[in-house]
């Protein structure tokens, strides 16, 4: 398997991209906001899938890296008045390094222990963001983020997000379909065998974690500017759970599944919130459905339906 996308996937991607690029034409604030947020969450979920779908570990603290990217970008832009070209890469680097640091500890463990430890570290990040008031604004959040002039505005920001998310996704695709990505899959499928053929499984799992952290940082950095603020909730564990649910709802064994899951869950939440204040219950029921009926997510369902239709013909 190389970097080339299957033709059907490539075609779908181009159609989606063109459709997204045309959205501002509709001149609807609502539509632009929704699509910007969906793109951010899609990238967030795609990044998590490097850990789950490719290296086969479960991170229950992925929100931490989203938050680190957001806080770093916001603080560098606003407090230190640095230009975006410095602040943004620095934010991504900070998330990636933080993830690498955490991975050093977490990869000592596997499976459920790994997941719990990622959660504990995420809570550490949350606790720091919460208590380090002078830098992060504490529980009031970091408000009033300076947004660079050239993307200050709904439409320019939309295009900035579209371009950044598209490029990031392309790079993620290349990473996941490189020799590295394939090695990760080998580790996921059988860690013992992968070790026997000379793969440094711990390093590979750690690298996957760091890559995922860096890309979550990109999503977080964009989101901080979009919201003009970063809040401690973004590092709290329910946020980590949400992105995990997005990933699984879409389907973790497919590259684009998590993005589909992000869009589906986001739209569902918007929709549900208009009718009920009990979104958590709705989410809980969705989770039950995933766990009991759809363990391979929407993409898995789609494949099953397709297989049945083809088979029935």
């Amino acid at each position: 398997m190389g970097w080339n996308m299957p033709r059907g996937v490539l075609f779908t991607c181009i159609v989606v991209l063109v459709a997204l690029a045309l959205i501002p034409m509709a001149d609807s604030r609502y539509l632009i906001d929704i699509s910007t947020e969906i793109m951010v969450y899609a990238l967030f979920a795609l990044s998590l899938n490097v850990i789950i779908g490719y290296s086969g570990n479960v991170s229950f603290g992925h929100a931490a890296y989203f938050a680190i990217g957001g806080y770093t970008n916001a603080i560098l832009l606003t407090t230190y008045e640095l230009p975006l070209i410095v602040a943004f890469p620095a934010a991504v680097l900070a998330s990636g390094l933080a993830a690498a640091f955490v991975a050093y500890f977490c990869t000592r463990l596997t499976d459920i222990y790994f997941a719990m430890l990622t959660l504990a570290f995420a809570m550490l990040v949350w606790a720091i963001a919460f208590k380090w008031r002078s830098v992060t604004g504490g529980d009031d959040g970091f408000v009033g983020v300076t947004v660079p002039e050239f993307i200050d505005g709904r439409v320019p920001f939309f295009y900035f997000t579209l371009i950044t998310v598209t490029l990031s996704t392309a790079v993620l695709w290349m990473i996941c379909h490189s020799a590295f990505g394939q090695t990760l899959v080998a580790v996921r499928e059988n860690i013992t065998r992968a070790g026997f053929i000379g793969v440094n499984t711990r390093l590979m799992r750690g690298a996957a974690f760091a890559v995922a952290g860096a890309f979550a940082g990109i999503a977080g950095a964009i989101f901080a500017m979009y919201n003009r603020g970063v809040y401690t909730e973004s590092a709290f564990w329910p946020e980590s759970a949400q992105v995990l649910i997005m990933t699984l709802l879409g389907g973790m064994y497919s590259f684009f599944g998590p993005a589909i899951g992000a869009a589906a869950l986001y739209l569902l939440e918007r929709f549900a919130n208009e009718y009920t204040e009990y979104w958590p219950t709705v989410l809980g029921v969705i989770l039950l459905v995933i766990v009991l009926v759809l363990p391979e997510g929407l993409v898995g369902l789609f494949k099953r339906v397709k297989a049945r239709m083809v088979g029935g013909r």
């Binding site: 459920i112 504990a120 550490l124 564990w237 958590p280 989410l283 039950l288 363990p295």
Partner: protein, 298 residues
């Protein structure tokens, strides 16, 4: 900091506070650890069980004025019922599935029960008064200390010893430990393993309920209290070693001390200390102080 060094009494009170906090957390974390030890499921819903325990305490002791002890018993009984429903209704289908799916299932329970609590008890902070006779302070010679916290510090070890005897000294406990080792073999020998599972889940959940009920006078029941406690429990059981009763007991004590003394020495940063401690422990012993390395097949 200065207070700690200059006033032995102050330091002594902090020690008692640490033990009392640690023991309250032990009761809850022991349930989580017990369930993991046998069922191999990390129950995210343990925090929400704790919250239900606190709310049930409010309803029984405060609202209906049936008394404190009745409140504790009702919390334990209420959670036992919930546990049976959850284990038989949902969990039993997932023991052979991936851990991730089990984790998510428990998270679904968190979400649904969290909303349920909002529907039943609203979103206000509720207050539960101290039981009669424990609202004052006891004279310890050198200082006075709140009687209620003193009671918590005593109840924890009592529950610890009870659990220890149950698991290490009874026939039922031996079967439970056997189920941890090899549940298929045990089933082949004619032991009803599902009954063991549901009982363990019931006891573990009831402990969360009791812990919540006992914490209610100190931490007023409020939505969101489940999110904090579950993370505290995770830290404790990881430090102590998942599935180890001794580990949970020691982990809870350590946590109590780090949290309390942390808040005295560098106020507001106590949470951070707890996590730093966790890191140090994991560097030295990845499976926790009393944990055993993972075995193949788990």
């Amino acid at each position: 900091m200065d207070m700690l060094l200059s006033s032995p009494t102050f330091a002594f009170i902090q020690v008692l506070n640490s033990i009392s906090l640690g023991m309250n957390l032990f009761i809850i974390a022991a349930g989580l650890s017990l369930i993991f030890g046998v069922l191999r499921v990390i129950n995210f819903a343990h925090g929400v069980f704790y919250m239900f325990g606190a709310y049930i305490m409010y309803t029984v002791a405060q609202d209906l004025e049936l008394g404190f002890v009745t409140g504790v018993i009702a919390a334990a009984a209420g959670l036992a019922v919930i546990a049976i429903v959850v284990e038989r209704g949902l969990f039993q289908w997932l023991y052979d599935k991936e851990h991730l799916m089990q984790l998510l299932l428990t998270f679904a329970i968190v979400l649904i029960m969290g909303d349920l609590a909002k529907i039943i008890w609203g979103t206000d902070q509720l207050s539960v008064s101290y039981p009669d006779g424990l609202s004052g302070a006891v004279d310890l010679g050198v200082t006075f200390y709140p009687a209620y916290r003193m009671m918590l510090a005593v109840i924890g070890p009592v529950i610890f010893i009870g659990l220890f005897l149950l698991i290490e000294r009874t026939r039922w406990g031996r079967l439970t430990r056997a189920a941890t080792q090899d549940m298929e073999m045990l089933a082949a020998l004619g032991v009803n393993v599902p009954v063991i599972y549901v009982t363990i889940f019931l006891i573990g959940s009831a402990l969360a309920g009791v812990g919540g009920a006992l914490a209610a006078p100190i931490n007023s029941p409020t939505p969101g209290m489940d999110a904090t406690i579950i993370v505290e429990c995770f830290v404790i059981v990881i430090i102590g070693g998942l599935g180890s009763l001794w580990g949970t007991f020691v982990g809870a004590l350590i946590y109590g001390f780090v949290f309390n003394f942390g808040s005295v020495i560098v106020p507001n940063w106590q949470d951070v200390f707890a996590f730093l401690l966790l890191m140090v422990v994991l560097l030295i012993r990845p499976w926790g102080l009393f944990g055993k390395p993972e075995r193949e097949g788990h």
